[in-house]
Symmetry: C2
Subunit: 448 residues, 2 copies
């Protein structure tokens, strides 16, 4: 993907404005974290230790103490939370930072999906009560759903992670889970964690409550990353290249002059320029490709590869008829548009493409979902690369057992999430894996 394809700033602008409405403030904390604080929360560092990158040298000199690059910023920020929070009037403390983090992956580095450095926002908040923390966890998760569904046109399922899959050191993790039909794998889209009081205990984040008693804060952390771009690419892309939803395409309409030998070339270029101007003035992100060293056909392929949602061609016939020809990236449909209706019809088309991308993706995703009740059904669905909804006893040992039993070259199955939207679970339903009484419906599958 080239640098100019995705106007990702639209998603950032949306999210940033939403969290500001929630009185969350932006901040910036350092990239480096000392070994001492990094290792303060035992479960947390156990989860991250193998992936931490260490700086040990500057210039030609060895550092006395190596310093870590943040894999996430709980341990960077919470020593300051401990200093800043004194009384209940200092709560809630709600901060967010837009930054880069580093997790040294060895298994399967994949651009945008699993890379050693990635960009994200990370929110870190502290509340006087668990109820406030619980409420925020879900408010943020809803924003993540909207990023995927309204901007990236990717359907997701909201739910809760299992104990085995939750954030290292946290109390519980909520997630928006996506699914990639082409590879038959689930993918964690973005997560909103309630950290409970584990970090508060280790970092001594205490306050005097409104009754004058000493109390401990309740904390959340939540993040979405540049992985969102990877998910979008995999869900919508096709053999010709990227397919970008209009809301986030940095070029929504590419205009290509199609001159003929004996035709009015200048007239065609003028019409292209006029079309760009009209569209830009209407707030549509349009550009013309007037390069003279490439053929129109070459340009069609080039802009298809870059995923531009709508192509407009202007040739001698269009010029004569005072129209343009529009070609959709998503379904190759061709539409002649009279110049008089240009803005209205282009806007309609872009809205239509945005909606259609989501609907097509949802149909494909839904076709991959299979409900099972027994291990045999589960194994069969897994061999068909499905996203499997199964009744589960919700025991960590059973999840480990499922992983062990499905281990293979293309990866084991794991739980993806227990959806908030639970189907009915009839009395007496048994766990697909253990045969014990089932407690909830949970999605399973291979994943990224």
């Amino acid at each position: 993907m080239s640098v100019e394809s995705v106007s990702y700033v639209n998603v950032q602008t949306f999210f940033d404005a939403e969290i500001k409405k929630m009185k969350i403030k932006n901040c910036y904390f350092p990239l480096f974290v000392s070994p001492g604080v990094l290792q303060k929360e035992k479960d947390h560092i156990e989860g991250f230790a193998p992936e931490v990158a260490w700086v040990t040298k500057s210039g030609e000199s060895e550092l006395e103490v190596p310093i870590a690059i943040r894999p996430t910023s709980e341990t960077v920020m919470y020593p300051y939370f401990s200093k800043w929070i004194r009384g209940h009037r200092d709560l809630p403390l709600r901060l967010n930072q837009w930054c880069n983090v580093v997790r040294w992956e060895f298994s399967n580095p994949t651009p945008f999906i699993r890379s050693r450095e990635f960009l994200w926002q990370e929110g870190h908040t502290a509340f006087a009560t668990k109820e406030e923390a619980d409420t925020e966890v879900l408010e943020i998760l809803e924003l993540y759903r909207r990023i995927y569904e309204e901007f990236l046109a990717v359907p997701v399922i909201k739910g809760k992670k299992s104990e085995h899959e939750k954030f290292a050191g946290g109390l519980y993790t909520t997630t928006v889970e996506a699914f990639i039909p082409n590879t038959g794998r689930g993918i964690q889209g973005a997560t909103s964690h309630c950290l409970g009081q584990n970090f508060a205990k280790m970092f001594e984040i205490n306050f005097e409550n409104d009754k004058g008693e000493k109390a401990m804060v309740w904390q959340n952390s939540w993040a979405y990353t540049t992985r969102t771009i990877g998910v979008m690419i995999m869900v919508h892309g096709d053999d010709k290249g990227l397919v970008l939803p209009p809301k986030i395409a940095s070029i929504q309409v590419i205009i290509i002059p199609v001159p003929y030998k004996d035709a009015n070339t200048q007239g065609i270029f003028d019409a292209c320029a006029a079309t760009v101007k009209t569209l830009n003035e209407a707030g549509i992100r349009a550009e013309v490709d007037s390069r003279d060293n490439y053929s129109p056909g070459w340009k069609y392929s080039n802009w298809e590869m870059k995923g531009v949602p709508l192509r407009i061609e202007i040739g001698p016939k269009d010029l004569a008829n005072n129209q343009v020809r529009a070609v959709r990236r998503d379904n190759s449909a061709k539409i002649d548009i009279p110049m008089a209706n240009l803005v209205e019809q282009v806007n309609d088309l872009l809205n239509n493409i945005q909606r259609s991308l989501f609907e097509v993706a949802k149909q494909k995703r839904d076709a991959c979902i299979q409900t099972v009740n027994t291990w045999e059904e589960f194994a069969e669905a897994l061999s068909q690369n499905k996203m499997i909804l199964a009744p589960w006893c919700d025991e960590e040992e059973v999840e480990k057992d499922v992983k062990a039993r499905t281990k293979g070259e293309i990866g084991a199955a794991k739980s993806l999430c227990s959806p908030f939207d639970q189907p009915e679970l009839p009395e007496g339903t048994l766990c697909f894996a253990s045969g014990k009484p089932a407690r909830k419906w949970t999605y399973w599958g291979r994943s990224y």
Copy 2:
């Protein structure tokens, strides 16, 4: 400085919008750079090598090849410039990224001024001709001047760096130079470099020009950093703490209820809430400090320390007279404002504070500037911590000599810049340091 004091996003929004008008696109390149490309441009790496941080370990494993953290991104980005630029139609290529960089400073780490990690934007552009590159260098420098003077209320001098002080590997460096009267030191505010063709040669950034001949691009790079915040703090701050210009203060007006025992406390709190609402609706960033565990006096000091430009106090007398009392942070002036004129007068006051901060800073800075002609005058002015304007022969050896002759505990003098706005240089004027014929007026002083 606490996290919420500076609404730095205003400066970013301004600069980002301006460069977008110039058709410069935002992008993101990796934090890590391999030793091979980092060392490609000899002068460049000589300049940066001692400050480069190296990652040598992930988890418990030694990396096969250590990897560097970017001190700046020329060497990260230009291998891609070489791939992307083929013909003159691919030019200009104009990119910018907002990111963090790391330079391992040992001498004098100072928050915001010289820190191991800092945030910046770095622009990297390539042109077909030197003329286009030269023009952009100055356009960007003018944006940097506006950031300092219009937003941060800090006067700067535009000029060119000496050969000795220019960017490592570049052709020439332009700068906006500020001065800190309290410490008597100059400080490089932000720099806009013409890189010439040095990097193009090493990274093979070639193109076919419009005559079909092979040519080499002309490049620029330019950056402003979080140092801007440090300069602003040092220029405006006083013994009570920060003093923030209204344009970038995240809270422009803090409203403090001043209740008395027997007065109408609820009425005062209601008036505070109404005042905030009125100001917010008018686009003024106002908040009320309604904490009940601190006295009004404590709050005054607290918000003065945080640099909020305007304080509004509301007590029983103000309530009775349907007015508020405003107190300026910059000069402690007190003004009673009738509620009916609230928005208008507060806006006037904020504009006035912004202007006044700049004017006061400029007077103080100007009082530090001293023009000299001889070494004796220079030495005297330096002992008085001045920003010294002197006629110079513009020879690198002479600058090194000045440094050697002024070496001392509080640091040697160096050239700050040769101002674009040159006073007349009468025929026969001699260099203050070498006695050779002078070529230009240049600012000298100790610096950060």
